[in-house]
């Protein structure tokens, strides 16, 4: 009895020893800065030597400024990006799931946007969006859709969609491969049973594949939502939030305030707001996934 207790105790101690390095590291580099952000958001920290406590002033400033617009823009941007990613990704997965020759190769070919350095993929889009000489404007002119060149990144409305499309392009491989894995996890017997009963391919897709994919779709949308909300590189490289702030999302705005203008306090207040939104998403995610998991057991 005593020996068994000792053994269990030593196992627990050993487990904590194993965890310690990773835990301490993440505490120092993620948890401490998180707390620090929160504290900073109530100060007027900047490049000057002294910082003073300013209470809610930073938050009041945020809501006085055009920040509400930024928040709405961020949500619209994120919503469309996630929705388009899900649609294209699920479409791609359905196509790649078909048992046709060459599908292993096609699967590999979906990966590059995800695997190559993000910035480099974005440079390529930057050229494609070029108004005078870029591919998209050029092709549209050739096909007779527009008379003159369109400088996609120079006008607010087109820049907004251009950054979304690039974000979709980077996110699609992950959604596709995830949905593909989910499709392949559907038991084959279901299809066989339906097939024996004379169900056609489209009917099987609509009545078996789609309903069984719903949990994975929800999970993936939530994960994608969190990642997209945090999206920085794409907008920063393509437009830096311009023109006229029309592609300025919360992350871009925070970066500009904090790193560009060195207003740490005001930047921190914005970061705290982002954290609050992210925590809400995250809570929803855990809620939904645990509900899905318990639903599976029943």
């Amino acid at each position: 009895m005593g020996v068994a207790m000792d053994a269990r105790k030593s196992a627990v101690i050993f487990a904590w020893l194993l965890l310690a390095p990773a835990l301490l590291y993440v505490l120092t580099i993620v948890a401490y800065p998180l707390v620090d952000t929160f504290i900073l958001s109530f100060t007027d920290a900047s490049l000057k030597r002294t910082t003073e406590w300013v209470g809610w002033a930073n938050y009041e400033k945020i809501f006085n400024a055009s920040f509400a617009e930024v928040i709405i823009r961020t949500f619209v941007w994120t919503f469309f990006s996630v929705a388009i990613k899900m649609i294209i990704g699920t479409f791609g997965a359905t196509m790649l799931n078909a048992a046709v020759p060459g599908r292993a190769l096609f699967r590999v070919l979906t990966m590059p946007p995800w695997i190559v350095p993000m910035a480099i993929g974005i440079f390529m889009w930057g050229w494609m969006y070029n108004g005078q000489f870029g591919m998209i404007s050029g092709m549209l002119q050739r096909a007779g859709f527009t008379d003159g060149p369109i400088a996609f990144l120079a006008q607010g409305s087109t820049a907004f969609w251009a950054t979304i499309i690039t974000d979709v392009w980077i996110g699609v491989p992950m959604v596709t491969l995830y949905m593909l894995a989910a499709m392949q996890a559907i038991p084959q017997d279901l299809y066989e049973a339906a097939w024996t009963d004379g169900a056609g391919r489209f009917y099987r897709f609509r009545r078996i594949t789609l309903p069984l994919l719903v949990p994975s779709m929800i999970t993936m949308s939530m994960l994608s939502l969190i990642a997209t909300f945090n999206s920085f590189d794409i907008i920063w490289i393509l437009t830096q939030g311009g023109p006229n702030g029309e592609t300025t999302t919360m992350i871009i705005d925070t970066y500009r305030t904090a790193i560009g203008s060195k207003k740490y306090g005001e930047g921190a207040a914005r970061a705290v707001l982002i954290c609050i939104f992210l925590s809400i998403f995250c809570l929803c995610y855990f809620r939904v996934t645990s509900r899905l998991a318990s639903g599976e057991k029943q």
Binding site: V30, I120, F123, W169, A182
Partner: protein, 286 residues
């Protein structure tokens, strides 16, 4: 994977055409920037900056691949930096993640679920949210504008997924192996080193690859913010500095990009089987 029975997957000719068309449209979207980027790298500048737009290069050449080494002086250094940073990041991540994943996979202790959840919650923050305190932290440690400034935060944000992935893998190793070693009088540490590590090697390899790619491909913001010295810049930031200039020499930029992504492409080509399983493992059956 079990092969499905033949009859159910027999497609009619129009279905096959439909599927290939669908795949074609999908892959066009995914690959178009690469095709266009490659063609741009072959075009002479005069042709790039001419209207109307032409897709196929006329008298294209690989000249940009030669001249770029002079126009982007730090190019070799950037590639080295990218590799160097990613290698160190991967090594540090593995050192911390292998024991942690083992602890999560095998030991019962109070707060295990909460702790795992807390690790995963790190994933929801991009570095961008924590930049201000990280910047101050780096400054007070005096490591701004060094390799450290890019490695230290990079590691933290790659730990959670790596733990998750490796834990999933280790849970599939039969428990009887540990118990047998334990009955034979092996210590916990000996069991980890001599029993678990060798068996978990394929899983560790997958984690190493995904971590390396995560570091090589995705960590732009730390290098952009914490380092201003051109000699330490990794490839994406180095090229971004070049990209930001008024007169962008597009064909050389694209040539440089292609040389820069070649390593990643080679990795995909040889390791794609591990990649797919690694990147999607645990994701579906959580």
């Amino acid at each position: 994977m079990r092969e499905p029975p033949q009859l159910i997957n027999r497609y009619r000719w129009y279905e096959i055409i439909g599927i290939y068309c669908g795949i074609g449209v999908f892959l066009t979207f995914v690959l178009a920037p690469f095709v266009e980027g490659f063609l741009v790298s072959l075009k002479p500048l005069s042709q790039l900056f001419s209207s109307p737009y032409r897709f196929i290069p006329e008298n294209g050449s690989f000249r940009a691949y030669v001249t770029m080494w002079e126009s982007v002086p730090g190019f070799g250094r950037y590639i080295f930096n990218s590799f160097f940073i990613s290698t160190i990041v991967t090594a540090v991540v593995l050192c911390m993640v292998v024991p942690a994943a083992y602890a999560f996979a095998r030991f019962e202790f109070k707060g295990r679920g909460t702790l795992l959840g807390a690790f995963l919650a790190v994933n929801m923050f991009s570095g961008a949210v924590l930049l201000i305190p990280l910047f101050r932290l780096m400054r007070s440690l005096g490591v701004l504008n060094t390799y450290f400034a890019m490695i230290v935060p990079g590691v933290a944000f790659l730990i959670p997924s790596a733990i998750w992935l490796l834990r999933t893998y280790m849970m599939r190793i039969p428990k009887e192996l540990d118990e047998a070693a334990y009955v034979d009088g092996a210590s916990h540490f000996y069991t980890l080193r001599r029993v678990i590590l060798p068996i978990a090697m394929p899983g560790i390899t997958v984690v190493a690859i995904t971590t390396f790619i995560g570091s090589y491909a995705q960590q732009f913001i730390f290098a952009l913010t914490f380092n201003a010295k051109s000699e330490y810049m990794p490839l994406p930031v180095g090229l971004f500095a070049y990209f930001g200039r008024q007169e962008v020499v597009w064909n050389e930029l694209m040539a440089a990009s292609f040389v820069g992504i070649a390593p990643a492409m080679i990795v995909i080509f040889f390791l794609q089987r591990y990649l797919v399983s690694g990147l999607t493992a645990g994701a579906v059956k959580q």
